[in-house]
Amino acid sequence: MIDKTVMDAASAVAGIPDGATVMIGGFGRAGQPVELIDALITQGATDLVIVNNNAGNGDTGLAALLAAGRVRKIVCSFPRQSDSWVFDDLYRSGRIELELVPQGNLAERIRAAGAGIGAFFSPTGVGTSLADGKENRIIDGREYVLEYPIKADYALISALRGDRWGNLVYRETARNFGPIMATAAAITVVQVDEIVPVGSLDPETVVTPGIFVDRVVAVGSRSWLRDGEFVGGVDLEGRPVDAGVPA
């Protein structure tokens, strides 16, 4: 019997080596697999290259991983946020490397890795400093820049529900990078609110088929939904609700 479920978050992140490239899902806090990241901090892997849209929020999740000094380099589109003080400090003091990628190129490069595309010509970033040194080509009268896949050793993502085959459904805009990161990593690790029996997810609505998934762990409601209360997120203005004390 296929069973990709694992007992706890520690088992889920077991084996991630120092120096690994790790994709971490989420857009800001939505979809960020905080429990997996916490387990990764405990697990101890360091010198990591992290791929995420952002560079951590507040002091939890990805921000805590950065604060623990485990990240050598981050590949992202938008590190600067109202609550990215951990990254800001590391970056300003030269203790972290940044590869800034326009968000759509980031997404498409991740998808390309998962879909076996060797490289693709994107119109995004043409003529800007983020295309410096990249190959350009005019196709059908329009200028494009050549972009290469981004693949990873591991992906850590968050979904709403999964089954033991690894089929996943997501919730609202927390879907964001999960489905594409799942395709682009050698080993994809997923935290879900709930594991459901095989056959209970409608085949028409499965967003990530289990073929892309290696380990699934149920974590219950995520941290910022604890006890049905919204904690650790942002308010209507995008400011952190329980920001804590900046590092």
Binding site: F78, Q103, G104, A107, P123, R171, A174
Partner: protein, 212 residues
């Protein structure tokens, strides 16, 4: 000289967005435009983090951490909404399917170049997000901005000195003083909120077409 408020400007932009349009409103001031779309006019808002059919902000007690916009603010979903992942969302943008996006700007050049993601300051933390994808992707790129910076410099320029977001991508610039079209031979004044073309030229140091 007459200037309009940020809210009036948002209303002015909203008036130019026809029913049935698919629209992305950039982070910051452009978000205001949503509040001025007339009741009953169906305009479908896209947020690049993965939704079409975005609705207004929820009540403070109804914030859902999984349901946010590109500025990471809490939003709602309208009946008829759809969720999708980032590659699909940016494929939608890059593929030219959005009718309009409204973006902020540091500078817009006469050639329609946009600079809105970095001032190039050496100690600044760079962050681009989806700005470059929106700039090159939407059928019409509207810029919403004050005409002048706080220190009185024109944001309309002969050529951008800040790092570019996109080349020749801006369709129209809505400012607190006037609305400008980007035309083959520079900015054309489309509408003013009281200022004369001569006054606008003095403020910006540019030469404008009188527009239509």
């Amino acid at each position: 000289m007459t200037r309009i408020s940020r809210e009036q400007l948002a209303a002015r932009i909203a008036a130019d967005i026809p029913e049935g349009s698919y629209v992305n409103l950039g982070i910051g001031a452009p978000t205001l435009v949503a509040d001025f779309l007339p009741d009953g006019r169906e305009v479908i808002l896209h947020t690049e983090n993965g939704m079409l059919g975005m609705g207004a902000a929820p009540g403070a007690g109804d914030v859902d951490p999984d349901l946010i916009n590109a500025g990471k603010q809490a939003v709602t979903a309208l009946p008829g909404a759809a969720y999708f992942h980032h590659a699909d969302s940016f494929g939608m943008m890059r593929g030219g399917h959005l009718d309009v996006c409204v973006l902020g700007a540091f500078q817009v050049s006469q050639a329609g170049d946009l600079a809105n993601w970095s001032t190039g300051a050496p100690d600044a933390i760079p962050a681009v997000g989806g700005a470059m994808d929106l700039a090159i992707g939407a059928k019409q790129v509207f810029v919403m901005t004050d005409l002048l910076t706080r220190s009185g410099e024109s944001k309309l320029v002969a050529s951008c000195t800040y790092p570019l977001t996109g080349v020749g991508c801006v369709t129209r610039v809505y400012t607190d003083h006037a609305v400008f079209d980007v035309s083959a031979d520079g900015f054309a004044v489309r509408e003013t909120f009281g200022a004369t073309v001569e006054e606008l030229e003095r403020l910006t140091g540019l030469t404008f077409n009188a527009g239509r």
